[in-house]
């Protein structure tokens, strides 16, 4: 049976999140798959246009409804379930959006979910990390059940734009609950690249010592066009906001360059960066576990080294 993959688009109402292009790449790993992206929105036109450009997408479905102005899983899940009938696979990104939504869809479809798909072995066989990435598990979906999965975005490059798939309006017949209401979202406005998709990341840990001291990282990051990340310890201590946390329970990232500054490298942090192309570690503790995974390690006082780095980079 040919595979038909439905991908739930993540977006903010006007822009398609890059995680969706990564889900498409994952789906393209399923031989011969026909790929449909569904955009649930109040006004889907802009996002649907972006989704239609993704190479490998055969069709974009839009589900427009004023209640879709905010991505509430309780209301989106029944709409996806109403559309899921003809599909063999339903995928979403392994972001907070997808982690919240996809299990709700899987339960309504009475099927298991495969979380954090990192590789496709066959239409029914996938690999995923468990135990904070300390083991890799191969799982097989049995009995011809629908495959619901979240795609580990750090494992896939986004499929390039350049295509133009047809866009169709879908109407769904589903009862939508009103028991969940969006109140607000507070996101720090920043001109820096997005942590999840940045090619370079400068990340700080507990050794920074204060929120004020943490700012030296922003300065270095701006010099090299990097996003800023943080270890759990730095976020817990209040040096950096939660959305900067990198690791098992924060963001899993795969930049070209990751500079870990004053981060000792707990296993839970390392799992978030192991797909980085090049890892640099700066730490005064020569025994810090971060040096075990670093391509370049520099032992020393970060408060001396970081300003030096900035100067040297500026002087190029």
């Amino acid at each position: 049976m040919a595979s038909k993959v439905l991908i739930v688009a993540e977006h903010d109402g006007s822009k398609l999140n890059p995680a969706t292009a990564k889900c498409v790449t994952c789906a393209r790993g399923i031989a011969g798959a026909e790929i449909t992206v569904v955009v649930c929105a109040a006004d889907a036109a802009a996002v649907a246009t972006q989704a239609a450009q993704l190479t490998g997408v055969n069709r974009v479905l839009t589900v427009e409804n004023p209640v879709n102005a905010h991505a509430l899983s309780a209301t989106i899940a029944p709409q996806i379930v109403a559309l899921a009938g003809p599909f063999t696979h339903v995928f979403g990104p392994s972001t907070t959006f997808g982690k919240d939504l996809m299990p709700r869809i899987a339960a309504l479809l009475d099927t298991a979910q495969i979380s954090d798909i990192m590789a496709v072995e066959s239409p029914t066989r996938f690999r995923r990390p468990i135990y904070a990435g300390n083991a890799i598990l191969t799982v097989e979906v049995e009995g011809g059940a629908k495959v619901v999965g979240t795609v580990r975005t750090a494992s896939f490059e986004g499929t390039p734009a350049g295509a133009s798939a047809p866009i169709e309006k879908a109407s769904v017949n589903a009862e939508l609950p009103t028991y969940t209401r969006f109140v607000s979202v507070s996101a720090a406005k920043s001109d820096r690249p997005d942590l999840q998709t940045a090619t370079r990341v400068v990340s700080g840990g507990r050794a920074l010592g204060s929120a004020d001291a943490f700012k030296i990282l922003y300065s270095l990051a701006d010099k090299i066009g990097a996003a800023v990340g943080a270890s759990r310890a730095a976020v817990d201590a209040g040096y950096a906001p939660n959305e900067l946390q990198v690791g098992q329970t924060g963001k899993i990232i795969a930049p070209e360059l990751y500079i870990a500054i004053g981060i000792s490298g707990a296993i839970q942090h390392l799992t978030g960066i192991k797909d980085a192309r090049t890892i640099v570690a700066i730490n005064k503790d020569t025994e810090a576990p971060i040096f075990e995974v670093a391509d370049y390690g520099l032992v020393g006082d970060l408060f001396q080294i970081v300003p030096e780095l900035e100067k040297l980079i500026a002087a190029k």
């Binding site: 509430l72 899983s73 309780a74 907070t96 982690k99 919240d100 299990p103 709700r104 899987a106 339960a107 099927t111 298991a112 979910q113 979380s115 066989r125 468990i130 135990y131 904070a132 300390n134 083991a135 890799i136 598990l137 191969t138 799982v139 097989e140 979906v141 049995e142 009995g143 609950p177 028991y179 969940t180 209401r181 969006f182 109140v183 607000s184 979202v185 507070s186 996101a187 999840q196 370079r200 817990d236 939660n242 959305e243 329970t249 070209e256 360059l257 192991k274 090049t278 890892i279 640099v280 995974v293 391509d295 370049y296 390690g297 520099l298 032992v299 020393g300 780095l309 040297l312 190029k316």
Partner: protein, 249 residues
């Protein structure tokens, strides 16, 4: 009675170094320290705080798993849970089975809220909370960093990729906990003694009318690929030199 149901899972302690069995059939758990999943401890702590502030009258702790799970239930009772329910089940318990078992307990206990960890640190699935909410047809507020109760409602602040999102949900609802919701209390020795006398009910999946259906075949477990160990540079200049050579800065 205003009741909170807390779901906990017995997992390999977060400090244990995980090793895959040589035959690829699983990870080594023999003789390894087991604990309550850290996110579930946060869930229990939150329930206890709500009760202590008068927002609930009873905290019931439940788990689905083998006989040994009763150790973790006793620990949860020592932390302050009022009573425990153990749904005995052996072998692989998939999140959908755990969610179905919790739903049966929800139907019986009629809680105002169910709190569980956002994920278990063993299989990292992050599924059970939303699955329960879906089957129950009730709201979910995942990745909570703040929970405020009002009459018949909860206002929950969530840690999402963009920052912090606030939702209002009608009760009953399912909440899943993130790291910064609270810091769980330490268990004191007298509480461990007291916990031995607290009620712990044992059921089976069968008694709840459920089967331990396994839908995913676990084909093999492998250790992850190791990164090549890199080099030490002596100073910032050498580092910048190396990065420039690779075109990274």
């Amino acid at each position: 009675m205003k009741r909170i149901l807390v779901g906990i899972k017995r997992v390999v302690d977060y400090n244990v170094r995980i090793r895959v069995k040589p035959d690829g059939s699983g990870v080594i758990t023999d003789g390894v320290k087991m604990s309550i999943n850290p996110f579930d401890e946060i869930a229990l702590e939150e329930a206890l705080r709500i009760k202590e502030k008068g927002g609930a009258e009873e905290v019931v702790v439940a788990t689905v798993g083998p006989a040994e799970c009763q150790q973790q239930l006793r620990t949860a009772l020592a932390m302050g849970g009022d009573r425990a329910v153990h749904v005995q089940a052996d072998g692989v318990i998939e999140p959908l089975v755990a969610a179905r078992a919790l739903l049966k307990l929800v139907e019986k206990e009629q809680p105002m809220m169910v709190i569980v960890g956002k994920q278990a640190i063993d299989d990292d699935n992050s599924q059970t909370g939303p699955m329960l909410a879906a089957l129950w047809n009730r709201p979910q507020a995942t990745f909570a960093s703040k929970v405020e109760l009002a009459e018949g409602k909860a206002r929950v602040t969530r840690e999402v990729d963009a920052g912090l999102e606030t939702l209002e949900v009608d009760l009953p609802a399912v909440v899943t906990t993130d790291l910064r919701l609270n810091e769980p209390r330490y268990v004191k020795l007298p509480d461990i003694m007291k916990a031995k006398k607290k009620p712990l009910e044992t059921l089976t999946l069968g008694a709840l009318g459920l089967e331990p259906k396994q839908r995913l075949k676990l084909v093999k477990f492998e250790p992850p690929p190791q990164r090549q160990k890199g080099i030490r540079v002596k100073d910032a200049a050498e580092l910048v030199e190396a990065l420039k050579k690779k075109g990274l800065v």
